[in-house]
């Protein structure tokens, strides 16, 4: 009996406290599931102009907490509210699975198109859809994009102990160059492999490392001679290696030269066949839409307009820019029209070339 009393005391008191708390704050919205089901589109008020007053917008991130996507989304979320009518609360939720595809599918086919659920994902998912690889279940041309917040410009970093000093030596080395990589189809795999194919470089891809940090460790431990990944992360995570001249950026695999690296040659500077060039452009495409944001298809145009404007304004926000600088996150803003154009170019690649790339990205 005594135990029962004590047990009740420790469980009931916090419960009652919470009730009090919830009743004092109107936004707690305890019957949200019911109201959500009953009202067809709460954002579009009767007056016509969309307002998110008192509402919550969720950005669904297809990757685990603390990763690149998660950090970027959380930084954006902190500064977004003031750029949307009604100043909604912006939240980030992680829904992992199948390299981000689970969250993409969820938002494409299950989320309500009321502007309150978005998804952020990797441009690579769009590539795999274009390549016809089974998995992500969406129509690339029907997804309403909000914008891109970050690009990924691939750069190859080579250990100086190999004696390689120029891109020419890197691409024409007689000795095999071991390139650390993660999983097939990932940009750290497919871009160096397509580059090697285009110019006949002697690369051996070592798959299986855990993220770019695993690849870096492999370079330190002499399991690999080089690795290629996004400059946006390399200039932070590879800073120590580059500062101590253990490794140097040797080659860029992206559209043009990155402003930070005016002297490092780009793979497209080297002679190659038209087909190889097309395939390279296809696999480099996702780099320009690396961190892409989208709303569910069927979102009413007037809401979409507000979302796109808010997204664009957020990325111009000086406060966000300052915070991103502190976090060493490079931001860009790519508008939806530009995204559609990039995706169209990727789709227009001849089918037999797409098949070739698909075979490398997904051999099994």
């Amino acid at each position: 009996m005594k135990i029962k009393k004590r047990f009740l005391a420790i469980t009931v008191i916090p419960g009652l406290l919470f009730l009090l708390y919830a009743s004092l704050i109107p936004t707690s919205d305890p019957i949200a599931p019911i109201t959500l089901a009953l009202s067809p589109n709460p954002v579009l008020a009767a007056s016509g102009s969309p307002s998110f007053a008192g509402k919550t917008i969720r950005i669904i991130v297809g990757y685990s907490p603390g990763g690149g996507f998660d950090t970027l989304s959380r930084v954006l979320a902190r500064h977004m509210s003031r750029h949307f009518p009604g100043n909604p609360t912006i939240l980030v939720a992680n829904m992992t699975g199948a390299g981000g595809a689970v969250s993409f599918n969820y938002v494409y086919s299950r989320a309500k198109p009321d502007g309150r659920t978005w998804v952020t994902s990797d441009g690579a998912l769009i590539l795999s859809k274009i390549l016809g690889i089974p998995g992500p279940n969406f129509d690339v041309e029907k997804f309403p994009w909000l914008g891109v917040a970050q690009e990924s410009h691939t750069v190859c970093l080579v250990m100086t102990r190999t004696g390689i000093k120029t891109a020419d030596q890197f691409l024409k080395s007689k000795k095999r160059i071991r390139i650390a990589s993660t999983v097939p189809g990932d940009s750290v795999h497919i871009r160096p492999i397509m580059a090697a194919q285009a110019v006949g470089a002697n690369f051996k891809l070592i798959l299986g490392y855990h993220g770019t940090s695993g690849m870096r460790l492999a370079m330190h431990g002499n399991e690999a001679d080089a690795a290629c990944w996004g400059w946006q992360s390399m200039k932070v995570t590879g800073a120590d290696m580059m500062k101590r001249k253990e490794a140097i950026p040797i080659l860029q695999i992206g559209f043009g030269r990155h402003p930070d690296l005016p002297k490092v040659p780009n793979i497209l500077d080297f002679p190659m066949s038209q087909d190889d060039k097309k395939m390279l452009r296809l696999v480099m495409g996702p780099g320009s839409i690396a961190k892409i944001f989208a709303a569910p298809p069927g979102t009413p145009p007037e809401i979409l307009k507000v979302l796109r404007r808010g997204f664009a304004d957020t990325l111009k926000d000086p406060k966000l820019r300052a915070e991103a600088k502190k976090l060493k996150i490079s931001l860009v803003y790519t508008p939806p029209e530009k995204i559609t154009q990039i995706i169209k170019e990727m789709i227009s690649t001849p089918t037999e070339l797409k098949k070739k790339v698909a075979k490398i990205a997904r051999p099994g």
Binding site: I3, K4, R6, L8, I10, T11, V12, P14, G15, F18, L19, A22, P33, L36, A37, L38, P40, R58, S64, P65, G66, G67, A93, N94, M95, T96, G97, A98, V102, Y106, R110, G135, R178, P184, G185, K204, I206, L207, G208, Y209, S213, R216, L217, A218, H220, G221, N222, E223, A239, D240, M241, K243, R244, E323, K326, L327, K328, R362, P363, G364
Partner: protein, 670 residues
């Protein structure tokens, strides 16, 4: 000159201690500890999520304060997470699952106080050891990690797998089959070399593999709930002393100090190795505790060593994994990955500068001190509230079961997808059957956590060193010798002993449920092999190499079960004669609780968490437990407040939409 240099190290060590003891740094650490305390205890609230939510607060802080805040939290979650594992059989954190295996049986025997005390003390010792490792290994860490490399990780995985035999609880055949099944589960998903979807059953959800947390929760916690419901009474079936032998637990950790130190070492080593994963250390430590014990039969039934080992390892790993993070900027686990993010925010670059006394070494040492001091504060604090915590094991089961079910489903909900719930249920069923037919569950988990690692590190080694030259590396040879010493010697001894024993008289061949379950295992491996046959070579080599021998073992095991029905685990407290009436009551109760587990699942599926859980809780309390209206309503409100408040309001959990609501809104829109 070296003396002067050493002096610099010592100076950095003390500067660091002073810096974290200063106000307000110390205050930030206390806040961090308070958060960590709660995060550790609550299943479903992972330390990763908590760290991410704490991030925005560190932007304007000085590095030492920011780390005291973040690491203060991160270094105590495993300490308090063990408490939930022991008391309720539900892992409070993903790296506390191994504490359930022996900790929860102790709680059931009324020795919750002893188990928790032992776990707390070993956690403290582990944390201090991990801190020491971090301190002492700083000059050596780079060569140490680099000399290990992928071949070292491969040998380490092999060493881990050899523990399967020890963990089999006397039935090595079953242990090996279970271990093989664990490896099979580890291979589920897109293969890392050819992107072949292996054993994904056409399910997208499985592309990333079988998630560990829902699996361990299903495997370990569901059978405990069923057990509690069938036996009736409270979790603690007996009461020993006032709070179940707290002093005894403290003494235990000193009595087995060598084991605690060795397991701390295992935890720190696994922590240092990047890419191995934070869940591996606890299970290897547990396995080591079993292996090094003279009487292994006690394990799984409440051996205190089985609590001490994981307790020490999951705390010492923090120090270990920070070593790699600081030295290379390569995070070895989830915590260190997030802390690495904090480095960036604070404008620090991991690397040699963090290891040099004339540069930022004092910062690195402040991390060490935070781990140690945070645990020095948390552990006594836990002892203060131990009495209240242990009380939960004495509350009658009919009240506690709905709460446990809520924690089970919440705890399993890690990827924000409904598939997690299905996993909890599926592995709950497998766990129940395994317990019922005398299969040990730890080998399965070992197989799961090591399977992928084994395959990956093997192929990386072959690719990176072009062949098998790496087999001659000193690390590989040393680990090979350890494996040989640790495994083959006791095996040979046991075979000798067994020869002396009189052979059992074989019973008649008879098909029984146990044998049917074993037949199921045979079928699974046969299908797995048949499936793998058509894959690309890289994708099939590993599964075929492992599963063909496992299939043979599974067949042998099936034949053995046909001859001698495995003894059903006797329900404790009812040993003695079991009347037919009792049996039918047990059956009734079992069906009842299984129905409720399914009911909770359906409620979640149709109504989602915020409505489903309170409703199911209320119905359970009113219908099965026959509690009074007052208690039923109060507990229902509490469960609702817990879900809406902590998970909905504070953590903004993305609960899946209830299937009924979706249907409903569709009807309305038509």
């Amino acid at each position: 000159m070296p003396m002067a240099y050493l002096w610099l190290y010592i100076e950095a060590l003390f500067t660091a201690l002073i810096s974290i003891c200063q106000w307000p740094t110390f205050g930030f650490m206390l806040i961090g500890i308070a958060i960590g305390f709660v995060v550790g205890i609550l299943p479903g609230l992972g330390s990763g999520t908590a760290l991410v939510l704490m991030f925005p607060f560190i932007f304007e802080m000085e590095p030492v304060r920011a780390f005291a805040f973040l690491l203060g939290m991160a270094s105590v979650v495993s300490t308090t997470g063990d408490i939930t594992s022991i008391l309720f059989g539900i892992p409070g954190e993903s790296d506390c699952a191994a504490s359930i295996i022996d900790g929860h049986p102790l709680a059931k025997q009324g020795q919750a106080g002893r188990a928790v005390a032992a776990s707390l003390m070993s956690s403290l010792m582990g944390a201090i050891f991990g801190g020491l490792v971090l301190t002492l290994s700083i000059p050596l860490v780079r060569p140490l990690v680099l000399s290990f490399g992928s071949p070292g990780i491969f040998m380490l995985s092999i060493l881990g797998l050899t523990f399967i035999a020890t963990l089999s609880g006397g039935d090595v055949l079953k242990g090996l089959v279970a271990g093989g099944f664990g490896i099979l589960l580890a291979l589920v998903g897109l293969d890392g070399f050819t992107a072949t979807p292996r054993y994904t059953l056409g399910q997208f959800y499985l592309w990333d593999g079988v998630p560990l947390v829902p699996l361990t929760i299903g495997l370990f916690a569901i059978p405990e709930v069923v057990d509690l419901a069938v036996k009736g009474g409270s979790i603690a079936q007996a009461s020993i002393g006032k709070i179940g032998g707290v002093m005894e637990g403290v003494k235990d950790s000193f009595r087995h100090w060598k084991l605690v130190l060795r397991c701390s070492g295992i935890g720190a080593l696994i922590g240092i190795m990047p890419g191995v994963g934070s869940s591996v250390g606890q299970f290897l430590a547990y396995a080591h505790a079993v292996q090094s014990s003279p009487n292994q039969e006690r394990f799984g039934h409440g051996a205190i060593e089985g609590v001490l080992g994981p307790g020490a390892a999951n705390n010492s790993k923090e120090g270990g994994s920070l070593v790699t993070t600081v030295a290379f900027g390569v995070p070895a686990g989830l915590h260190s990955a997030l802390l690495l993010g904090a480095f960036t925010i604070l404008g620090l670059t991991p690397g040699l500068a963090m290891l040099r006394p004339e540069q930022n070494l004092h910062l690195t040492y402040s991390l060490v001190w935070t781990i140690i001091v945070a645990n020095l504060i948390t552990v006594p604090l836990c002892f203060l509230v131990l009495r209240q915590l242990v009380m939960f094991t004495q509350v009658r089961g009919s009240l506690i079961i709905p709460i446990l079910l809520m924690l089970i489903f919440l705890g399993g909900f890690v990827n924000n997808t409904f598939g997690d719930m299905v996993m909890v249920l599926l592995f709950g069923a497998i766990g129940l059957l395994m317990v019922n037919f005398g299969w040990m569950r730890p080998p399965l988990v070992i197989g799961l956590v090591l399977g992928r690692l084994l395959e990956k590190s093997f192929f990386i080694s072959v690719d990176a060193y072009e062949g098998f030259g790496w087999l001659g590396r000193p690390v590989v040879v040393i680990l090979l010798l350890i494996i040989a010493a640790g495994v083959f010697v006791p095996v040979v001894q046991r075979i000798k002993e067994r020869r002396k024993q009189v052979k059992e008289v074989p019973t008649r061949w008879k098909l029984n449920y146990g044998a049917l379950f074993s037949l199921g295992a045979v079928v699974i491996f046969a299908v797995a092999i048949w499936n793998a046959w058509s894959w690309l070579p890289r994708a099939r080599i590993f599964p075929l190499t492992i599963f063909i021998p496992v299939l043979v073992i599974a067949v042998l095991n099936f034949l053995k079960d046909l001859r001698k029905p495995p003894s059903k685990e006797v329900v404790k407290g009812t040993d003695g004669e079991v009347s037919a009436q009792d049996l039918s009551l047990v059956r009734k109760k079992t069906i009842n609780i299984l129905g409720w587990i399914g009911g909770f699942f359906l409620a979640l599926w149709w109504l989602s968490f915020p409505l489903g859980i309170p409703l199911a809780t209320f119905l359970y309390l009113k219908v099965t437990s026959r509690e009074s209206w007052l208690i039923s309503i109060l507990l229902t409100v509490v469960s609702w407040a817990f879900i809406e408040g902590i998970f909905g309001y504070f953590l903004h959990f993305l609960f899946p939409e209830g299937e009924l609501f979706i249907l409903f809104s569709k009807i309305i829109s038509i």
